[in-house]
Symmetry: C2
């Protein structure tokens, strides 16, 4: 539609959207959304407040953009692992290892969880994306469970929604505890115990 690389009329744009979103993501992720103000964010990104408002419309737009980026670079790769054609236990171990890896790229904890836990700080756009990401995670876990059942890795006696909730909630828990500085070794052992009921049997409705 529009000419691709033709210099448009008017003053050229210097505002680097991607860089600002990246800084916002890192900051919200590391310090939590309650721990950081829009003003402070502008300072760190070396961006003027009106510039930020022009680009994102406000705090809600910025948070939403940061969460979108988070979903793309963190959540998607994580959930993608569940679609591999591997034994359930292997994939689960790999995921747990990733979640409790102290040297993982990015801050500890999970931006989605932090946002979910501060609903009053969220604007409508961010809130909607939080809900969407949460339910699509549940869905991905449920599909993974169903495939594992077909494979015979998980007993069909286990309720799929319950098992999906277990996976979702326990993953969130691990990330939250990592952010709190809990011992990764202890967390892994605890998680292994919590998932023992899944990989063995038992636990219907």
């Amino acid at each position: 539609m529009t000419d691709p690389d033709k210099t448009p009329i008017g003053r050229p744009k210097t505002f680097d959207r991607d860089e600002v979103v990246g800084i916002a993501l890192q900051t919200y992720w590391r310090e939590g959304i309650d721990g950081i103000s829009l003003n402070e964010l502008c300072r760190r990104a070396s961006v003027s407040k009106p510039g930020l408002y022009r680009e994102f419309g406000g705090e809600d737009g910025l948070m939403d953009a940061a969460l979108e980026l988070y979903a793309e670079i963190v959540l998607s790769p994580l959930l993608e692992q569940t679609t591999h054609d591997r034994p359930f236990g292997e994939t689960l171990t790999a995921i747990l290892e990733t979640l409790t890896d102290i040297n993982r790229s990015g801050p500890a904890g999970c931006l989605l969880v932090k946002m979910q836990q501060s609903p009053s700080r969220l604007g409508p756009a961010t809130r909607a994306r939080v809900e969407g990401l949460r339910s699509s995670a549940r869905l991905a876990y449920a599909e993974w469970i169903d495939r594992a059942k077909e494979r015979g890795d998980i007993s069909p006696d286990v309720s799929t929604p319950v098992a999906a909730a277990l996976l979702d909630i326990q993953s969130n828990t691990l990330l939250t505890q990592m952010a709190l500085g809990e011992d990764p070794e202890l967390l892994r052992a605890q998680a292994a115990l919590a998932f023992a009921g899944l990989t063995n049997s038992a636990g219907s409705t």
Copy 2:
């Protein structure tokens, strides 16, 4: 030491400390520590700010007092259950039932968890109390586990610190999820699955 019911010199005190602490507890508990300001708290308690400062020294003192009350009326009764001479499974079920009871007195969620997750908002006194309560909870759970092992309710193959961490972390998780509005039925089922590894066997270091 001091005369018990002699009217002291000076203007009589009208500041009701217990009432203010109670309101602070309810408010922090329900709205979260980040969701409420000292000013707003004064408004709700119908107390002047200097009055509050005189009594508590500042925000830190008030939070600390609220957390102290929380420990007394919520945490202690909960942990007290673990000292009863009952089969492990029974007590565990009772605790899980309590944690996921929608009609429980007080707001959903756990004040201790909320405070732990907003460390930057905490003053030194509150922070110290948070850490103390956390470690004494772990200790109480560990002792419970050890008694259950002696009873034969839990396999001695299970590591006590790991099992204690499981109990502590899963309890926190349940309360957090309840505060988020998750379905209590689903939470209970999920928790039953997570604790299956404890009550059956398996799960050493």
